[in-house]
């Protein structure tokens, strides 16, 4: 068995110093080692987006990264976002517009949609659909999700 490599990373604002197998996926590291199970795994080949997290603020698929790759970097998962008031608004909006059903894709979508809103994404359904096409939802047909986010997005709003 390959030797564990030491990593020093920050996850949801907390420093994590540990050692991991080189082949340990970031998604498994977050879920199994750090018990941050809000992030879901839907395909492990980078298409469905359920595993979406933020790496140094950028939206990434944690199933396509190794834990070793976040050494020296900052990871934020849904657990680190859910107290932010704008994220709470997003969650309320999703519920109001019936933008979720089984909820499995939802954490990945909340992370991705939050990044869209944070970065001033326009309240334009076409633009948001294009953006969120990297997240699969099998239940809702996306309608409620698009309505929810577009009703929250305000053109040119500064990131909170």
């Amino acid at each position: 068995m390959p030797e564990a490599r030491p990593i020093n990373t920050t996850v949801n604002g907390e420093v994590v110093q540990t050692a991991v197998e080189p082949r340990l996926l970031l998604s498994d590291f977050l879920r199994d080692r750090l018990l941050l199970t809000a992030t879901k795994v839907g395909c492990e080949h980078g298409v469905c987006g359920a595993c979406s997290v933020l790496l140094d603020g950028e939206l990434v698929r944690s199933c396509l990264l190794f834990a070793t790759q976040v050494h020296g970097h900052e990871v934020v998962t849904l657990e680190g976002l859910r107290e932010i008031s704008r994220v709470r608004e997003l969650m309320a909006g999703l519920s109001e517009h019936h933008g979720l059903q089984c909820g499995f894709c939802t954490p990945g979508i909340v992370v991705a949609a939050w990044a869209y809103l944070r970065d001033g994404g326009p309240p334009d359904p076409s633009a948001f659909r294009e953006y969120i096409s990297g997240n699969l939802c099998r239940c809702t047909g996306y309608e409620g999700l698009v309505e929810a986010v577009c009703s929250l997005a305000v053109k040119g709003a500064p990131a909170p």
Partner: protein
């Protein structure tokens, strides 16, 4: 008769937001893969890479000896005879000769078939160990293709299953031969429906924990038909039912494919029992593609006889439903649903349908949202359009003049199917199909669309309109369980339902029904499901039965609890039953009042069979029904095809659906649009294709394409309540499947209209559409 002077708020009919949402949005509600306590071992299934082979030798020693491996099981290590997956539904004569063993014994019959189970300290170690297992396969010619499988030169996949036909479902009424002879026109074709399936975003998983000290087995993960599966597992493991406790976690979509009994539903609990350890298992996506039920693959030779005025005289179908390498828990369900639903909204009096259940070396199949209807709506609505075209009739007119009329309801087809204790009799309960069509055409501005089509065609563009009408079925019985408790102290209302939650919102809809019957605020009500310790029985969530059957049981149970509460309150206040009123939290009578919590305390204790002592007010009920509810609707689509790429652009999509009575209109709409997304996927994108060697052509989501946010058109959804169900106390019908079942039919008709070439095959990929365009060019050259 008691009337509350304060009229309570009506919850049924309200688009309330869901109780489920908070925990799902914050990611705090556990799915089965989130249930980990650090003590579990991890299981991995080694699967066959051969579509058809004899297993001549198996060597698991290197795997067993690897560090971190606790067990490696093959068929030889299991209790003998190796258990087979039991039939749950529609046990057609003969299908039990092709049941699947929980691990392959001496032959594999599809790529993905479980051959061994490895249990190790981690999933990574288990997968490493799987690679150390050596299996000698003697490859056999694969049996691929519904046409080929039944030929005499195809190998028989199972003993005593001639020509790979496990059984044939046959339905017949009237005199089809005579009607065909008398026909003015017979529209006919050989129709192929693509193999595809539910593909929920969460893959299948289980956690099993056997405590050998007390001989008790917990299993997290079962859903859909948990009570049936618990009984099945008890039987297969030879364990007393009372020792097995199933718990349903959050479930990431079902669509028919999750929750049936699979090999792993035996293997994982068995491993836990044998090792005396908690064992966790989660399939990954590439396994799920191979291992979770496929569906939809059918081949039909179908004919529609029509008179000179366009009246339908007869429908005749000779078809095949692909079962895959084995017959799984669904038995002949899909073939049976196809046979009974084929006529759709038309009063076909001469009808014959024979569907073979055909085995081939592919993943076994089962039901997927609207089983038999996605397929048959496609075939039937194509035939209707073909007949309309031959007679130069507008497709809308063709349908309008043929529909069963509302004054003919209830319409009894005289179609009756029985297998063992299962029975279905086709009698449409209510419906106004003409009105539905007219509503759809008006909303779509049909005349305007036809004008637009003409303009585009004059410019040389390839535009088309497609219509499809359908009747759905819901509420298959024949019973469901409900219990309503009002707790002393808190006055909280607990609603126990035998239904399963797969994402459709039962914790909200069932609460709405209970809150109405009790006259309480929705916030007071909490729904409990999936825990077999407190929900002792149930049939589960499938076939859009939840609202009708589960709702019926909750309705009855809530009425019993309310009635018991009134009686106790009246007695406590010293007034008669008729002098009492309830304002949502207290009962009043005379000058006094008593809170519902106090009434619940006075109720004392109730013994509930197979549950135990429950404190407070209790109302328990079994709702029974043999009658189905039949919702219905029409889809209309306007498309333009890019002649260069074959890509279909959907310019307008209008979908109407009559739900009888909607418990929660927002949830109904969600089901319809979610279903439509799956229907569009099946019509345009999704296929589990196999090459002629039986090798799957779908390893990932890069090959099996599912609709993304950019694939969905803007959809106008018209939900109506014109035809409540007379067979249900609240008039309810189901809405779970209707969105999925007509998209392929409507799109196929639109593409046929646009290209002038009949569509007989799905999916309508750009390549297939380009072929149609090429043939259309040939036609116009000839003419």
């Amino acid at each position: 008769m008691t009337l509350a002077p304060v009229r309570h708020h009506r919850w049924v009919g309200s688009a309330v937001t869901r109780k489920e949402d908070d925990e799902l949005l914050t990611g705090t509600r556990p799915f089965v893969a989130d249930i980990r306590d650090g003590t579990e071992l991890h299981a991995h299934v080694l699967r066959s890479f051969a579509p058809h082979a004899r297993i001549s030798a198996v060597d698991v020693t290197p795997a067993r000896e690897a560090t971190g491996v606790h067990a490696v099981l093959t068929a030889a290590d299991l209790p003998q005879p190796v258990r087979r997956i039991p039939l749950r539904l529609w046990p057609l004569d003969g299908v039990d000769r092709a049941l699947q063993p929980v691990l392959a014994v001496d032959r594999v019959r599809y790529v993905g078939e479980p051959v061994a189970l490895i249990v190790a300290d981690s999933r990574y170690i288990a997968e490493d160990a799987a690679e150390l297992i050596e299996i000698d396969y003697d490859f056999l010619d694969p049996v691929i293709g519904l046409d080929h499988a039944t030929q005499s030169n195809a190998i028989e996949l199972h003993d005593h299953v001639d020509r790979n036909v496990a059984g044939t479902v046959s339905v017949g009424i009237g005199d089809v031969d005579a009607a065909m002879r008398d026909a003015h026109i017979v529209a006919s074709g050989r129709f192929r429906v693509n193999r595809h399936s539910g593909v929920p975003l969460e893959t299948r998983g289980l956690v099993a924990h056997f405590d050998s000290n007390i001989g008790h087995l917990w299993v997290w993960g079962p859903t859909k038909v948990a009570h049936f599966n618990r009984i099945a597992l008890a039987d297969l493991l030879d364990l007393d039912l009372e020792r097995i406790h199933f718990i349903e976690p959050a479930v990431g979509g079902g669509f028919g494919v999750r929750g049936e009994f699979y090999p792993e539903d035996y293997l994982i609990p068995y491993a836990s029992v044998v090792l005396g350890r908690r064992v966790a298992w989660q399939e990954d996506r590439s396994e799920s593609f191979l291992a979770t039920n496929h569906s939809r693959e059918q081949l039909h030779d179908a004919q529609l006889a029509v008179d000179a005025d366009g009246r339908i005289g007869a429908l005749s179908v000779r078809g095949a439903n692909s079962m895959g390498g084995y017959v799984r828990s669904h038995g002949a369900t899909v073939a049976t649903m196809s046979a009974i639903m084929f006529p759709g909204p038309y009063p076909v009096q001469n009808y014959s349908c024979d569907i073979d259940c055909v085995l081939e070396n592919k993943t076994p199949t089962g039901t997927y949202r609207g089983p038999g209807r996605f397929e048959t709506n496609f075939v039937r609505e194509r035939l209707v359009d073909m007949a309309a075209r031959a007679l130069d009739l507008d497709p809308a007119e063709m349908r309008r003049q043929n529909y069963i009329r509302s004054d003919q309801m209830p319409y009894d087809f005289g179609i009756d199917v029985r297998m063992a204790e299962l029975h279905v009799h086709q009698r449409y309960d209510s419906g106004d199909y003409v009105r539905q069509l007219d509503d759809t055409l008006a909303a779509a501005d049909y005349a305007g669309l036809k004008a637009r089509r003409s303009i585009l065609r004059a410019e040389g563009r390839c535009a088309g309109i497609g219509l499809a009408s359908f009747v759905e079925k819901s509420g298959i019985g024949s019973w469901e369980y409900g219990r309503v408790e009002i707790l002393p102290g808190s006055g909280e209302v607990l609603v126990f339902t035998g239904l399963a939650g797969v994402g459709q919102g039962i914790e909200t809809s069932m609460a709405q029904i209970a809150a109405d019957e009790l006259g309480v605020d929705l916030a007071r009500v909490r729904v409990v499901h999936g825990d077999t310790d407190v929900v002792p029985r149930g049939l589960g969530s499938f076939a859009s039965r939840g609202t009708m059957l589960g709702g019926g049981a909750v309705y009855l149970a809530a009425r019993r609890a309310a009635s018991a509460a009134r009686e106790i309150a009246a007695s406590a206040l010293g007034v008669g039953d008729g002098d009492i009123y309830f304002d949502g939290s207290s009962y009043g009578g005379g000058a006094q009042s008593i809170s519902i919590e106090e009434v619940a305390s006075l109720a004392g204790e109730t013994h509930i069979s197979d549950v135990g002592i429950r404190r407070g007010l209790c109302g328990e009920a079994i709702y029974e029904s043999e009658d189905l509810g039949y919702p219905y609707g029409t889809h209309l689509v306007f498309i333009e095809i890019d002649r260069g790429t074959g890509v279909i652009d959907i310019g307008r999509y209008v979908m109407s659906y009559d739900v009888g009575v909607a418990v929660n209109p927002m949830l109904v709409r969600g089901q319809l649009i979610g279903g439509l997304a799956q229907g569009l996927g099946g019509a345009l994108l999704e296929e589990f294709g196999y090459d002629s060697d039986g090798q799957p052509q779908f390893a990932s989501f890069a090959e099996y394409l599912m609709p993304t946010a950019t694939d969905m058109p803007d959809v106008e959804i018209i939900v109506t309540e014109h035809a409540p169900s007379p067979v249900h106390p609240l008039g309810l019908k189901g809405a779970g499947e209707g969105g999925a079942v007509a998209a392929a039919a409507a799109l196929a008709n639109a593409v046929s209209d646009a290209t002038g070439v009949d569509v007989f095959e799905l999916p309508l990929t750009p390549g297939r559409v380009l072929d149609l365009l090429a043939r259309s060019a040939l036609h116009s050259e000839d003419s």
